[in-house]
């Protein structure tokens, strides 16, 4: 799907494919470097024009987004497609007030004057749970707390009621209690507005609370896709299994050990004629380093593995 031309062509993401329905939340889960963010930027048309090569298809309500011109894509972004980024402080322009950063979306896509957009912006801030929104409009990002900044970013992304919202690690930079609030807010907004949400995270806890369907990515490919409950109840791919087993649980029996996944993403081998996860996989067979596993349907889920985990996982989310 992507190729970065440089000293050596490097395929960041390959064969990642998923659908999102209105009001539905799909999760993309994986370690850092697995291609989650590249996927989301490609959907938004935000990858640098020169350099990376994108092939494949991004269809939005019947339109092929990849075939749109820069200008057409600009019209869509912020109106039909919204995005929330990871670090709320650096993602906000430090030298212009929050209010302008909200109203500029309305000015651009709704054709409102700045003045007319003010009450709308205040409404939006109110809706994402920012107290005293009218006063906040004239404040600057550095005057807001981390959680408030992320709420403001969400308000900007939702200003024109986009039908697809991509949230790229929206809670990673926040305190745990704030994380929960932001996730609850996102869940509520998705339900209220029938927005389709793509949730990108490395945190299975986020997935457990929010997503209907989960795609687990490894080395730029989806290795397992399942409904949330299925996945947590019975992870089949050794990687998914490993991710779940490495999370500490309060209800685990005393003395039970956490099982870390060996190695790191740096141990990746290319997908060509092998499974990229093989070097770190406890279930690896000889075939795993000889042939590339393909996506296969398996009891309502998709799985890319030569030797999936068989035993029933005791834990449930």
């Amino acid at each position: 799907m992507f190729q970065r031309k440089g000293e050596e062509p490097f395929t960041a993401v390959d064969g990642v494919s998923f659908d999102v329905e209105p009001g539905q939340t799909v999760g993309l889960v994986g370690e850092s470097g697995c291609g989650k963010s590249v996927t989301s930027l490609a959907i938004m048309g935000l990858l640098p024009r020169r350099g990376p090569k994108i092939s494949g298809s991004v269809r939005f309500e019947g339109t092929e987004l990849l075939s749109l011109s820069d200008k057409q894509m600009r019209d869509r972004r912020g109106r039909d497609l919204g995005m929330v980024f990871q670090d709320p402080l650096s993602s906000l322009n430090p030298v212009i007030p929050i209010g302008l950063q909200v109203t500029e979306v309305l000015e651009r896509h709704r054709g409102m004057s700045r003045k007319a957009a003010q009450p709308h912006a205040a409404d939006l801030l109110d809706k994402v749970g920012i107290p005293d929104p009218t006063r906040r409009l004239s404040e600057y990002p550095h005057q807001l707390s981390g959680g408030m900044r992320q709420r403001a970013l969400i308000a900007m992304a939702l200003a024109c009621k986009p039908r697809l919202l991509i949230a790229d690690e929206p809670t990673t930079a926040l305190d745990v209690t704030i994380q929960a609030q932001i996730l609850a807010l996102l869940a509520e907004l998705v339900q209220d507005t029938e927005t389709a949400l793509v949730m990108i995270t490395h945190d299975l806890g986020v997935v457990a609370g929010l997503c209907d369907e989960v795609n687990v990515l490894y080395g730029g490919r989806v290795v397992e896709r399942a409904r949330r409950h299925e996945l947590f109840k019975r992870p089949r791919h050794p990687y998914t299994h490993g991710l779940l087993a490495s999370i500490p649980r309060l209800d685990a029996p005393r003395g039970e050990r956490l099982v870390p996944i060996k190695g790191s993403v740096a141990d990746n081998i290319p997908w060509t004629n092998a499974c990229a996860f093989a070097p770190r996989c406890p279930n690896a067979l000889d075939t795993c380093v000889e042939t590339t596993p393909v996506m296969e349907a398996d009891n309502g889920r998709l799985l890319r593995c030569h030797n999936p985990v068989e035993q029933e996982q005791e834990v449930s989310a």
Binding site: R74, R77, R79, V95, I96, E104, H142
Partner: protein
């Protein structure tokens, strides 16, 4: 904003206080001490003795310091001994300051008008021919001694090609009316268009020579700042909102990139007098820089100390203005 301004002003007073101490110490270290500093080396025994008593050099050093401050505050820097013998140093300053200011404004306008747009374009097309040419050119620009460049310009455009005048502020034959001391402005005010044009033409060569280093620095800082900002997350956010390129450039990229650029413009403006010493000397341009250059040669200490003090003051005041404009652009400073 008000608190910020007040705090900056208080700091400024501190700097000026330390500056006056340094200047006092400097004056006493000049060859021959403060008496020679004021009288020059040609003072008679008699006038020396009189001045020694007058300055209270027999009194404790603290008293001397406050007397020095008192004289400085009343604008009394002594009488010129070399530049324009017999004229009060302060009068020389008042007469020549507009000339240097006019030249400096011309130079900084040239540097900004070329440096910022070219720096921005270079950053937008990083690695392109304009970028490479600009970066190499700005590095060479800093490596060329200013006064050599000035001579080169004069040699080529005034002496050989005879396109532009080689010295002075205005042709003497014009007998233009003087109003403000800014010759171009005077010409415009009195509608003596030929006088305005002539004064402007006289500004070109020294102005361009003076502008090279500020231009090179402003170009490079603008380029670096824009490159930094283009990489920022908030620019990606602005893109994700589907804003037009126009909005993204002006509101998100340029506004943030301006912060270091404004600082640089201020610094370079403040440092212009240093360059003016060299260029004004080359073009015999009757400003403060030339006065300073002559005062070195003729050991005219009253003019010397006056110009150095004024240069430092101008520099300090410009830095204050930069800080204030910085606060206007950056709310993080304003509301801290």
């Amino acid at each position: 904003m008000l608190r910020f301004t007040v705090r900056r002003l208080i700091q400024l007073v501190g700097v000026v206080a330390v500056l006056s101490l340094l200047l006092f110490a400097w004056l006493r270290s000049l060859p021959g001490g403060p008496v020679s500093a004021l009288l020059g080396e040609r003072g008679t025994e008699e006038s020396r003795a009189r001045l020694t008593a007058e300055l209270g050099l027999d009194q404790p050093i603290i008293t001397q310091y406050f007397k020095f401050i008192g004289r400085a505050l009343s604008g009394d820097f002594g009488t010129s001994t070399g530049v324009q013998p017999g004229t009060a140093a302060m009068d020389i300053f008042l007469e020549r300051f507009p000339a240097t200011l006019e030249l400096s404004i011309f130079a900084i306008v040239v540097a900004v008008a070329f440096g910022i747009p070219l720096g921005y374009l270079a950053a937008k097309r990083r690695g392109g021919w304009l970028d490479n040419l600009g970066v190499v050119g700005s590095l060479i620009g800093v490596a060329v001694p200013v006064f050599f460049l000035a001579f080169l310009l004069k040699y080529v455009f005034a002496v050989n090609l005879n396109w532009l005048p080689s010295y002075g502020r205005q042709a003497d034959a014009l007998e233009a009316t003087r109003v403000t001391g800014f010759f171009v402005l005077d010409g415009l005010l009195t509608q003596e268009w030929d006088a305005a044009w002539d004064a402007f033409v006289h500004l070109i060569l020294p102005g361009v020579a003076l502008a090279t280093i500020p231009f090179a620095v402003i170009f490079r800082i603008t380029r670096a700042a824009v490159l930094d900002v283009l990489d920022e997350d908030y620019v990606r956010t602005a893109e994700s909102k589907g804003l037009t390129l126009q909005t993204i450039r002006t509101r998100h990229v340029v506004r943030n990139a301006m912060l270091p650029v404004v600082t640089t413009i201020g610094l370079q403006t403040g440092a212009l007098l240093a360059g003016a010493v060299l260029t004004e000397k080359v073009f015999a341009y009757p400003g403060l820089g030339e006065a300073l250059a002559i005062s070195f040669e003729r050991r005219d200490y009253p003019v010397l100390q006056m110009v150095i003090l004024m240069a430092a003051l101008v520099y300090v005041v410009i830095n204050l203005l930069v800080d204030l404009s910085y606060a206007l652009i950056d709310p993080r400073i304003r509301t801290r």
